[in-house]
């Protein structure tokens, strides 16, 4: 990788670790503590979070867990078919709350006139809560935007809490929504202290449609993508029913940030809390995953995430991994017809990430193989339930997205049909795999189908976007 000649002078350079790795020398001694202090943080993530620790036996080095599995490790012979490959990463457990990596956070707050009243007060309260929870090593900046943008608190170590608190409290709503400028300044402020030793993040709160500056979901998505390249994740929190959920989810998705939907201001505190919980539990950053398939295989698409595919090679990146949370990507692969009884290698997976405890770049490797059998029962018996469930869920989310697209075109009946079909098959599969998760999502789809019209649609759409995002990115809340 051609990284040595990258300068630090230009603000929009590549991820920080690539320029700083060489300077790092002090070894970290936190690894032992990390395992001693295990099990302090417990986050429940349903089926998805079932951590598989058996592959990484308890050793001194805290490592991210990599699992590569096929939905059907035994495939039916003599016919071309699609295989689902799941690459799962689980963050190790952080030793103790005080040992967490320092945070470099920008709060970008909407102060447009629509925020008047309860909303701005609750937003301020949430911002103050964030301030209280951050430590002296952390860096905070606060940006407020209306029709123009203002950096309330430039990126700074939190030494003078009272002054920051005062500036947050003084916020008054006014004007239109210059979301782009707000996010730009958020990225700029975070960029001032950009470091692979910190958790670099922008939290964007908005309750309205961006109407000054670039404001299409695509543009903001691309901005998120670029922020992700720098190692900055943007978490977007939509407040009320007036914001643009497509824009907000795109921005979060493509920068690998979280997305929250607070229908009313009372929910803000909880969402900020969840978010801080995530931010404070980052154990790995800048995770690059490369999957090299065998020559005759052909990766088709990522089921739950956009991935880059060049021929037999698939590449994707995660901004960070959280402690004890599973993040995974599902890849659909075309497998050519093969004789029964053959066993063959399918793909090699290489993962590189920054370990926030050791401060070093770690590498993980795994490979996955497949056996072919003529017996359907063989195939069924070997089926990997977890992979199948997640893959079915990802496919269902895709159909859920299609339904939204249909509804956006005004084809309410068609959208309803897609959702109901989706729900039915989810219920069926839920029964087959005894998965509550699929079953529940089936119910959600029924609910979605019932709310495609009238007043409830706006709110429903936001909830659907939120769900799609959460499920595809394995978000903890």
């Amino acid at each position: 990788m051609n990284t040595s000649n990258r300068p630090t002078s230009y603000p929009y350079t590549a991820r920080p670790h690539k320029m700083q790795r060489k300077r790092r020398s002090a070894p970290h001694h936190r690894c032992l503590i990390s395992w001693l202090a295990c099990s302090l943080v417990a986050l429940s993530c349903g089926d998805a979070a079932v951590a598989k620790s058996h592959k990484n036996p308890s050793t001194a080095a805290a490592e991210v867990t990599l699992d590569v599995d096929l939905g059907e490790p035994v495939m039916l012979a003599s016919r071309e078919q699609r295989a689902y490959l799941k690459i799962s990463l689980v963050g190790f457990e952080l030793p103790a709350a005080t040992e967490r990596p320092p945070i470099n956070l920008a709060l970008v707050l909407d102060r447009s006139s629509s925020m008047t009243g309860d909303k701005i007060e609750k937003a301020k309260a949430a911002a103050l809560m964030v301030l209280d929870r951050l430590g002296a090593d952390d860096i905070l900046s606060v940006v407020a935007y209306d029709s123009t943008v203002q950096v309330l608190v430039p990126a700074t170590r939190i030494t003078n809490r009272a002054a920051i608190r005062e500036r947050i409290r003084a916020l008054q709503p006014r004007g239109a929504t210059a979301l782009f400028a707000g996010v730009s300044h958020g990225i700029e402020e975070t960029g001032k202290f950009l470091s692979d030793q910190r958790v670099n993040r922008v939290i964007l709160l908005s309750d309205g449609q961006a109407n000054v500056g670039p404001s299409s979901p695509n543009e903001l998505g691309r901005l998120g993508h670029a922020a992700g390249k720098q190692g900055i994740a943007i978490t977007t929190i939509g407040l009320g029913l007036g914001y643009n959920e497509d824009l907000m989810t795109q921005l979060a998705m493509r920068s690998d940030g979280n997305h929250g939907f607070a229908e009313n201001a009372d929910q803000l505190a909880a969402i900020f809390n969840y978010e801080l919980g995530d931010v404070m539990s980052v154990v790995a950053q800048d995770v690059d995953i490369e999957i090299e398939f065998e020559a005759d295989l052909r990766p088709l698409r990522g089921l739950n995430r956009e991935i880059e595919i060049h021929g037999k090679k698939a590449v994707f990146s995660l901004n960070q991994l959280y402690s004890k949370q599973e993040k995974y990507v599902l890849i659909e692969v075309a497998v050519p017809a093969t004789r029964a009884g053959t066993a063959r290698n399918l793909a090699d997976v290489a993962v590189e990430y920054n370990n926030m405890l050791t401060g070093k770049r770690h590498t993980l490797n795994d490979r996955v193989g497949v056996r072919f059998s003529a017996s359907r029962s063989d195939v069924a018996r070997s089926e990997n339930r977890d992979v199948m469930v997640t893959a079915l869920e990802a496919l269902a989310v895709k159909r859920n997205r299609e339904a939204v697209a249909l509804r956006d075109q005004g084809k309410v009946d068609e959208a309803k049909k897609v959702l109901i079909d989706n729900a039915r098959s989810l219920r069926q599969q839920g029964k087959r795999y005894r998965s509550k998760r699929l079953d529940n999502y089936g119910k959600d789809n029924f609910d979605d189908a019932a709310n495609l019209d009238g007043k409830s649609w706006n709110k429903r759409r936001k909830a659907m976007r939120k769900n799609q995002h959460s499920m595809e990115t394995n978000q903890s809340y």
Binding site: Y10, T13, T148, F180, A181, V183, H310
Partner: protein
């Protein structure tokens, strides 16, 4: 005020005021024009500063990319291989500013991004394992590689023309996706170069920009000549460049007015400043952005307050205050002129009255004197006892009238002497009672003729150091007034007495009294309660004025006693319908340094001296 006066007043005030206002307005308008121009120049200067910030951002990006990312030998364009593809893909994954790389070999064939190996025809370049994004890039930039785009050389090193009018014409031009960017007028004179000439350009230049429209608008491609021949370049991630520019530009509440960076559709990319212009408002100043973003515009809006603060308000305020001051001055001047004029008119009127009165006054006694003198002449023809008696009476009348004429002339003389300050007094010790009695006795025939009873009560028994003629003149004037104006009362009482520290001569009548309105003014020269000649009362209006002046010159004072004091309570009770009357008091007061001494007590000559005899 008469109509004539109004006209004069208006001419004096309004005409100069109107001229001043007109001139002032003219000056103000000129000043405003100059101010506006200066203001606009100022704003354009500011915009140029902003523009240089933007240009700086772009240059920084350009330098960074050329020096650190697309170095001349980052890939081998001569024999472009899988390793080179891998290099560019890795770079792309980590460079926020780069959306896509592209590479042309020395034949102008696009070797990166690779063509889709699913083999769609029409693609230039070698087949490869293109990702979705890479294929999309080939598609959207196809016209450039096929030689269908019109590319431009960058403008000369100097700034492109930023004249407001010139650029305004092109400011709201719609963007046309998929067509080559037509340069605004600023690039006139640059020869368009056809087609596959990214390579041709590279023959003449080391590196350059290509501006291109797709998706949301203007995109930039930066290319450079590769060491091994061919071209290597990047498609700039539009939003990142924007975001970069936005965070370099000023923050919201800085400055005043509102500055808007607008894209080629006129939609704001970024804005700052506290002022919110209305949607239809035109910017006060506008410039186009530096190459290669010349399709963008910078617009400066100014709030009305700001405009006024710079060139409107102060001038207008100055003008209004100036005009107000001029108006005030003119009105004051006109008022003073008018007052002066009115006083002169009044004086002249009074003089005319005076002359009339005096002539009238002089005429009557002279007529009488002449008449009686003629009669006396006739009477003396048949001289017998009866006619001798008659003669005596007529002589008496002549004497009395002569005395009146004398008094009148004395008054006039005294007045004119007082006016000219040439009056000389010869003071001596005089017996006040004696003088008063003498003077009043002289009036006996005149009073009797009007049917006025008079009484003299002398109780002062004092000598005062004063001019005897003057004192006599004062008393005579007072009694004469009674005769003229208070004959209806039928009574005049003259009293002298010691009162407090001084001596008092009081002349009391029971005539109509003095109207309270006139009490203050009766001592002014020429003032008369009634000016009508026809009401049968004559006079010059000088008597009281002269009397008081004489009194004061002799260390005394003459005053009009309050109405109640002129009668005893008993009198009022006796006849409440009786006229009020007037009471004048001549006061010699020791406190005013008048020398007074008492006369040794002797047989009192006191007594009422009613004169019952009436002239037949």
């Amino acid at each position: 005020m008469r109509p004539g006066h109004v006209a004069i007043f208006l001419t004096i005030v309004i005409a100069p005021l109107a001229i001043a206002a007109w001139l002032g307005l003219k000056v103000t308008r000129d000043e405003q024009k100059i101010g506006q121009h200066q203001f606009q120049t100022l704003l354009e200067g500011r915009l140029r500063d902003v523009d240089s910030t933007i240009a700086n951002s772009v240059q920084q990006a350009e330098r960074y990319l050329l020096e650190r990312v697309i170095t001349a030998s980052v890939v081998n364009t001569e024999s472009f291989g899988p390793a080179d593809v891998e290099t560019l893909r890795r770079l792309r994954r980590n460079q926020p500013l780069v959306r896509e790389f592209f590479a042309l070999d020395r034949n102008g064939v696009l070797v990166f991004p690779p063509a889709d190996d699913r083999g769609d025809s029409g693609q230039v370049g070698r087949p490869g394992d293109a990702s979705v994004e890479e294929s999309a890039f080939r598609e959207r930039t196809a016209p450039i590689w096929r030689g269908q785009a019109v590319l431009y050389e960058p403008p000369s090193p100097e700034r492109p023309d930023v004249s407001a009018q010139n650029a305004r014409r092109s400011s709201r031009r719609g963007e046309r996706p998929g067509t080559a960017h037509k340069s605004p007028g600023t690039l006139v004179g640059e020869a368009p170069i056809r087609g596959d000439t990214v390579l041709a350009l590279a023959a003449t230049r080391e590196h350059g920009w290509i501006t291109w429209y797709w998706e949301e608008g203007l995109h930039l491609l930066l290319w450079r000549r590769a060491r091994a021949g061919g071209v290597i370049g990047v498609e700039i991630e539009r939003v990142v460049l924007l975001s970069r520019i936005v965070s370099e530009l000023p923050e919201s509440r800085l400055g005043d007015g509102r500055v808007v960076l607008a894209d080629s559709r006129g939609d704001p990319i970024h804005q700052w400043g506290p002022y919110e212009p209305s949607s239809s408002e035109r910017p006060l100043a506008t410039t186009s952005v530096h190459y290669p973003l010349q399709a963008w515009r910078l617009n400066h809006y100014a709030s009305p307050a700001q405009r006024q603060a710079v060139f409107g308000k102060t001038l207008r305020v100055n003008l209004i205050t100036g005009l107000a001051a001029i108006a005030f001055g003119l009105i004051a001047m006109a008022f003073l002129f008018y007052r002066d004029y009115a006083r002169k008119m009044r004086d002249a009127q009074q003089r005319v009255n005076f002359v009339t009165q005096v002539s009238h006054e002089l005429k009557t006694p002279l007529t009488n004197i002449r008449l009686y003198a003629e009669l006396l002449q006739n009477d003396l023809v048949g001289d017998d006892h009866e006619s001798a008696e008659k003669s005596h009476h007529r002589a008496e009348v002549i004497v009395a009238e002569s005395q009146r004429l004398t008094r009148l002339i004395n008054n006039i003389l005294t007045f004119s002497k007082q006016r000219r300050k040439t009056l000389e007094l010869s003071k001596s010790w005089i017996d006040l009672d004696h003088i008063v009695t003498n003077v009043v006795d002289q009036f006996a025939p005149a009073l009797a003729a009007k049917g006025i009873e008079y009484s003299i009560t002398t109780r002062s028994k004092a000598e005062v150091f004063a001019d005897s003629d003057a004192v006599g003149q004062i008393v005579a004037n007072l009694v004469s007034n009674v005769e003229k104006y208070a004959a209806d009362g039928g009574v005049v009482e003259v009293t002298t007495e010691i009162a407090g520290q001084g001596v008092l001569v009081r002349v009391t009548d029971r005539g109509p009294g003095i109207d309270p309105d006139h009490r203050d003014r009766i001592f002014r020269p020429f003032h008369r309660v009634s000016n009508k000649l026809t009401d049968g009362v004559t006079g010059t209006g000088l008597g009281l004025a002269i009397a008081r002046d004489l009194a004061r010159q002799n260390g005394a004072d003459l005053r009009l006693a309050p109405a109640e004091t002129s009668h005893s309570a008993a009198d009022i009770e006796a006849d409440s319908n009786r006229p009020v009357g007037a009471c004048f008091e001549l006061v010699f007061d020791r406190r005013r340094e008048t020398a007074i001494k008492s006369i040794s007590p002797g047989p009192s000559p006191v007594g009422a001296k009613p004169l019952s005899g009436k002239e037949s």
